[in-house]
């Protein structure tokens, strides 16, 4: 090594002492080599999918509103609603913007505290954000499965639902800057704050508040302005079961009215005996196929609960084959307007689930 003369001098006592050299090595660190390798162009192409607000990273391509509607109804509407308006699963995507907002770039309804909720189009300032997120994360249960054309098309359809682009529009990498100039909330963002941990980007110089650590006879707010209404007392479950059974404070028994005599603190309920450790086949299939994204065990989510399905078909003679078909091919209209898309699991697996439903959808 080229540094060996130094080391030799040190050893001979002609230069730095070896102790000092060692200390330097300690603080400076040794050279790191041989760890990590150069990424190949194909690897980078496979993973580098981000698209910035200046459209850096946007692949060339195009997609029409019409094509977008097709994709939407097949892959998106069951969570987001036919018009992107549904708030049943996620916050609504579309609604709350006006032609005037498109002119001003500010969504007026953001000033209306009585307007329920805030849709994505009311908030998002940048069309790149929509493209990037649909491309990387949608559909929810099969992210990164859309083609580039489909991503352009779905983005175009979403913008069309918001009245930002016309029905016959074809969104392309070329016209995206023009669309950006029509985003309803494009002027609705502020960087005037003190909450960014870097020196660039934001302009705020001071914190929003400057409380004083007053210690004695301080000004106070004396009125209890808000507390939980009595009817919400048990809304988060029995709080007695959410606190340790011993200690300086115990949990309030919220299954009873406030002020009721508390139950004696029994010894803490021992943990439920662990199961066999191996999930029953139907449970594993439910998880593997993301069924639980839309169906709850006991309560309605996007679709009906497994218990409700089981109840509905328990008397049906051909329930197993009927439900197997429904799982495989999807359907709509039985439980509401939101369609269930066709599922990609094997017929045998669908049959296992149908059989489990027929048996009343028992927990393992």
């Amino acid at each position: 090594m080229s540094s060996s003369p130094k080391w030799i001098r040190a050893l001979l006592g002609l230069g730095l002492s070896s102790a000092l050299l060692a200390a330097q090595a300690q603080t400076k660190g040794l050279e790191i080599s041989g760890l990590g390798r150069t990424a190949t162009p194909k690897e980078i192409a496979a993973w580098d999918i981000d698209v910035r607000p200046d459209f850096k990273g946007l692949p060339k391509g195009a997609g029409s509103v019409a094509k977008g509607q097709e994709v939407w109804e097949g892959k998106c509407a069951h969570c987001h609603g036919i018009f992107g308006e549904s708030g049943e699963v996620f916050s609504p995507l579309v609604g709350g913007t006006t032609p005037e907002d498109i002119k001003t770039g500010r969504v007026a309804r953001l000033n209306d505290a009585s307007f329920p909720g805030r849709t994505t189009l009311m908030k998002v300032p940048t069309v790149s954000t929509l493209w990037d997120y649909i491309n990387r994360a949608m559909p929810w249960t099969q992210p990164k499965s859309l083609s580039t054309e489909e991503v352009y098309a779905v983005t175009a359809f979403l913008l069309n639902l918001g009245g930002i682009v016309p029905d016959e529009f074809v969104l392309t990498d070329g016209n995206m800057p023009e669309v950006q100039a029509r985003m309803p909330n494009r002027n609705g963002m502020s960087l005037d704050h003190h909450l960014w941990p870097g020196r660039q980007l934001t302009s705020g110089k001071a914190a929003d508040t400057s409380n004083k650590a007053c210690m004695k006879d301080c000004p106070v707010e004396t009125r209890v302005a808000s507390d939980l209404p009595e009817h919400a007392r048990n809304a988060h479950g029995n709080l007695a079961e959410q606190n340790r059974a011993v200690g300086s404070q115990h949990g309030a028994d919220t299954s009873k009215p406030a002020g009721a005599a508390p139950a004696a603190a029994a010894p803490a309920a021992p943990t439920r005996a662990a199961g066999s450790g191996k999930p029953a086949a139907p449970m594993a299939l439910l998880n593997k196929n993301s069924c639980t994204a839309c169906h709850g065990m006991d309560s309605k989510l996007v679709g009906p609960s497994f218990k409700d399905i089981a109840k509905k078909y328990q008397e049906k003679a051909d329930a197993v084959s009927y439900l197997t078909g429904k799982i495989l091919r999807g359907g709509s209209g039985v439980w509401g307007a939101i369609p269930m898309p066709a599922q990609t699991l094997s017929e045998a697996d669908a049959g296992v689930l149908a059989e489990w439903l027929k048996q009343g959808a028992p927990r393992p």
Partner: protein, 459 residues
Amino acid sequence: MNSDSKPAGRLLKAPENFLDPSGVRQVFAEAKAGRRSFIRNAFAAASGAVAAPMAWAQANPLAGAGDGDPNILQLPEHSKGLGQPVATDGYGRPSKYEANVQRRQSPGLTQTTQASVSFAPLQSLFGIVTPSGLHFERHHQGWWDVDPSKHRLMVNESEPGLLKRPMVFTMDELMRLPCVSRFHFIECGANTGMEWGNVAVPTVQYSHGMLSCSEFTGVPLRIVLDLAGVDYKRARFVLAEGADGSSMTRTIPMEMVENGEVLLAYGQNGEMLRPENGYPLRLVVPGVQGVSWVKYLRRIEVGDKPYGAKDEAVHYIDLMPGGLHRQYTSIQECKSVITTPSGGQVLLDKGFYNISGLAWSGRGKVRRVDVSVDGGRNWRQARLEGSVMSKCLTRFNIDWVWDGRPTLVQSRATDESGYVQPSYGQLRTVRGTRSIYHNHAIQTWLVQENGEVKNVQLS
């Protein structure tokens, strides 16, 4: 036993072990009827500790005229038999009596369980470390248990010239690099977000439980960027991207990377990260909201502009009065909360208690915490426990004697920058009530006459 020699601050067994259920009911019923002192005196007489200071007399009474506590007089099984062998469970678990201490979802907050949150049970935790199995969870598209032998970290650039070479690392390689171990808190930007307008949840688990603290072990990101030859003059932003379905992205300022704070972490509390927390690799961005601590981290891109990701342009933007949204709000400002006594708990009787809570700041160390038991008129300085660390939870404690009257308890933290945690009134004056994110106002708990603690807001 001589009550005079009892050290202050010691917590004592509650009386219910000595009373049958009807007896307990009677005590509370009588207390409610204003006869608490009568009952207390009765207990005091029975235990022979007359006129003892504070809660000592009634906290461990001997009921009736028996010879003593059956838990003492009749030796239990565990004193008379053979216990269980070593390694009964290769990975030990909490006592079966701790089953109530669980992370939980807030009912109705989300419609799905994969794009959801579970809250850490702050009301049951001691010290500053969150047991890894109780760490709060926030997933956008469900969690995975990723095979570490197949996990890769890529480092690349937004345009040519920002680094000398794009690189790929295996976990084996990352774990050979120089590492550090540091304690830091992680708090979701939406923690306490349900409380902006009014009280919405009953307990500290739901009001503040998107907060956890761990010792993280990992490689400073700076070391890896140096290996890739990053041009720090031009590359002023970093994009972090996850490998899961949502492939979460967030923009990080290069300043934080340059000062060595940002870590590529694989260790958490002495073991590997838990799958729910990003196993095998997550970003640690001290003092910054949890959404930036990208889990299942697969890629770091250096760039010259911020990225406007979904969680920087649709969510994690703070709605201000006037209708503007603040973008790229990241720092978690100085905040504190009392964890015992806290909402949904019941004080078993009047007398001595230890008020305990947590304080933290995304701008450095907590300098002091003050506690008020009169709704903010007067404050006393609490004790800060252990060594106070930067951008880390700090445990505080202070003595308190409850006189049985309705009491408003509050904590107020000050950090090393001199910033003092604001009241709701002060915060709402600037940020309104629709921000969702970055609510760090002073929390008030009301201890009611019946001992039950309520979440309240004052005005």
